[in-house]
Symmetry: C2
Amino acid sequence: MSRTKKRTGGVTMDHVAREAGVSLMTVSRVMNNVPGVKDSTREAVMGAVKALGYSPNAAARSLARNGAGRIGLLYSNPSAGYLSQFLVGALDGAQTSGALLVIEKCDTSSDSESAAIGRLIAGGVAGVILPAPHAESDRAIAALREAGVVAIAVGTGHPRPDTHAVRMDDFAAATEMTRHLIELGHRRIGFIKGAVNQTASVERLLGFETEIRRAEPPADPLVEPGDFTYRSGFEAAERLLTLDDPPTAIFASNDDMAAGALAAAHRRGLDVPGDLSVAGFDDTPLATAVWPELTTIRQPVARMAEAALRLVLQESRDQSRRDARSLIDQLLPHQLIVRASTGQVPGNS
Amino acid sequence: MSRTKKRTGGVTMDHVAREAGVSLMTVSRVMNNVPGVKDSTREAVMGAVKALGYSPNAAARSLARNGAGRIGLLYSNPSAGYLSQFLVGALDGAQTSGALLVIEKCDTSSDSESAAIGRLIAGGVAGVILPAPHAESDRAIAALREAGVVAIAVGTGHPRPDTHAVRMDDFAAATEMTRHLIELGHRRIGFIKGAVNQTASVERLLGFETEIRRAEPPADPLVEPGDFTYRSGFEAAERLLTLDDPPTAIFASNDDMAAGALAAAHRRGLDVPGDLSVAGFDDTPLATAVWPELTTIRQPVARMAEAALRLVLQESRDQSRRDARSLIDQLLPHQLIVRASTGQVPGNS
DNA sequence: GGGCTTTTTAATAGCGCTAACATCATTTTG
DNA sequence: CAAAATGATGTTAGCGCTATTAAAAAGCCC
């Protein structure tokens, strides 16, 4: 008992097959949801799987599939909260769908990005998931395309004409948040923009502006630049709050900046939401870590990562069969989360 | 060219061997740094590897090694910043050392933890990395031990008598930070404790108290409970700042709580560091995201994860050979990072 | 330089899984 | 009722790599 057999500790397909009284191949079919297995057989196999606690060996699978099912993920360093959520989602999806994730890090420099993409391609991935900043790099996408690797952009504002995309409707979400503020009676509303090189920033701004124009009586937008960092949010909020006629609400393009705005408000002795409402975007862990908790838009980051994984897997499979590729643009639902940081406009109750 | 060959896109060992004019096995030896290869041969192989851009296929490797080299990582949801740094470090290490990481998520409930450990064991891992909260779960460690899986605790306060550990010296680090504050002239210093179920919290507190007692003239500690969340830091700071004789400096057991303290100070109209110094711990991304940037202790999270990976790999290899296991306790260096949030005691200049 | 150990290299057999083809039962049909 | 068309399952041959064993080359003694 104590002597560790070389065994990996593992139940293999063979064991399952024997237990279920079928051949190894049948088990494989069941595990991969291949049609053409009698229901009764399928159930028997499932039973054996449960009984033995079998779980397929990802390494063997990836090997046998000869790289199909190996997919790459490129990341640099977006907001830390975003990254871990994203990784978790991707990891989850990988486990579920039996894919093998190859994760590559790079910084934002174009060289580093190219190098990482090169490594991914050399590693023989069938597809690559490109989260927000990289999804907008022409070079990266061109390199991938040339190598015949499926690329999928996650979290961009627009879909590109040359890549599949998984994203949320940033425009609509910004619209909803703005409406929420307007319904609370706010008319002077500050908006803090996100990093200019990301199309999602643009969509959020457009959504805000569009909804502002719909307000009746008319609302008054005050737009300040920002770059998705806490500090830029803080500074933008300082600028907004030192105006002669400061806004009664601030809508930041992400939670980090909203947290910065919160800090700026507190620093000036303003009560949130008594004197000023603050809204964020993304619903990162930070949103519930600050006080008061942020009203924000829940972006289903983990689900987007998972969807991206599934999509890239499916596409890479399809691509090898036929060449009929239509671009997919999958939109995941967002949600307005109202918490304690937004309230009625001051002096309105 | 356009037709995708079934090829994984990959250069295999076979190609390298042919290029270098040696056998496949020799290449394997070189790749694994196995002794007993003539230097000239080794160089020839390395040359071929470079020339062809070969990189070994982790899946095949893991498969052939029959699970050795497959190592598990359990995580729940510590501070988001911590997680991504940790994952990145582990992922990096895995790539370098050719290990295959199996990442399992669980929440903090004991059941969920057991289930995750079970999955890991069933997956045939040779070792498991247990970051902070799980590293202190007797059940988890017992289960792993029973399955003959090497466990390694990361980021605990003490080493346990039954597990290898990779950690930093929390006690010494807290001591240094406290000394830093004392040297700035602070004598009334607030301390915000971390979650009570983590031994690192205790070490940090002890380090603080020890250094306080050394101060000349004597210093005055004010200890408040906290649980590593932003909110608990905010609340603890509120309590400290509403005292009749409030502290001139607050040392929080992590950056999240320090950020909370910062918010509380701003809310009361205090200038940091003019009126109040605030210090954190960990140097998570948050530390530089807030304003002013936090003086903190840099905990080499990524390096710790990498070290843990290496250690668990090596141990699992050794264990299968002999049974002579001595417990390893690897201490990684930390660093006091002085930024803008701490300064001379008010009215001292 | 023969017999011997010591390096160093080559050959073979899997690791757990899947793709492609082969083999059986069942139907369906001329 | 034989022949072809379906299912449903079993067989075989690898995927890229590492252990293990066998073989060859190189050193060493007297």
